[in-house]
């Protein structure tokens, strides 16, 4: 199994979600990390607070947000969650809005998720990868893109 598919625990992927604000999108990404056993609810609050404090810098590429917060006791295990949005939302990022794909990221520390992010970077360096994710209608299609 790829590191990405391993990081995306069962129950951590939601396709075609309906949200109306960036905060709802980030909270849903957080809820999926909680329900798949990777974080506690406090981590969701921390992700939202980080964006309130520092702005929409988690929108790292056109259409793609990767909300995250510092490693803390709220992180039970390194993991990710993935949402594709039925309707794009604005995060307030001048260059990369609107967002259609949201990856929640939780890390236990500063080191143990580096290979995972390297795999992530390899995928998203491919032009059109965000659109490939958006065209998936089933979790199995998403997982095969990450293999």
């Amino acid at each position: 199994m790829s590191l990405l598919n391993n990081a995306l625990a069962p129950g951590s992927i939601r396709l075609g979600a309906s949200v109306s604000t960036w905060e709802e999108a980030v909270r849903l990404a957080g809820e999926l990390l909680v329900s798949s056993g990777r974080t506690t609810v406090k981590y969701t609050d921390a992700m939202v607070e980080t964006i309130h404090e520092l702005g929409p810098y988690v929108v790292i590429a056109p259409g793609l947000a990767m909300p995250h917060a510092r490693p803390s006791e709220a992180v039970l295990d390194t993991g990710m969650s993935l949402i594709t949005l039925a309707e794009p939302v604005e995060f307030g990022n001048r260059k990369n809005d609107p967002v259609t794909v949201v990856f929640g990221l939780a890390a236990l520390d500063h080191d143990r998720h580096l290979e995972l992010l390297s795999e992530f970077a390899g995928k998203f360096s491919q032009p059109g990868f965000v659109n490939s994710l958006l065209s998936c209608n089933a979790e199995s299609e998403i997982r095969s893109l990450f293999n």
């Binding site: 980080t50 404090e53 520092l54 702005g55 810098y57 790292i60 990767m66 917060a69 510092r70």
Partner: protein, 89 residues
């Protein structure tokens, strides 16, 4: 030469920036140490020649002795390459 990629938490955006900066440096044939750090760590260490960050974070890095480069698209190796080579060459 030391380059520090900076983000709010030091685990996500900054790590991706660091990886892509290292890729670009290899392609350009340039040598530098690249680290990832959160804003507080980057502000406290002050020993980097170049700081890389997304635009929202750049505002929080003013007043340091390093050159601060703003990267808008973390996966755009062209943008990183152009801006890094302008700063280093």
């Amino acid at each position: 030469m030391k380059i520090v990629a900076v983000c709010g938490a030091g685990i996500g955006t900054s790590v991706l920036l660091k990886m892509n900066a290292e890729k670009v440096l290899r392609t350009l044939g340039l040598t530098a140490t690249v680290e990832a750090a959160d804003i507080e760590t980057a502000r406290a260490s002050r020993d980097a020649q170049i700081l890389l960050a997304t635009p929202e974070i750049v505002d929080k890095l003013q007043g340091l002795p390093s050159e601060v480069i703003s990267i808008e698209h973390v996966f755009d190796l062209g943008e990183i390459s152009e801006k890094l080579s302008r700063a280093m060459l």
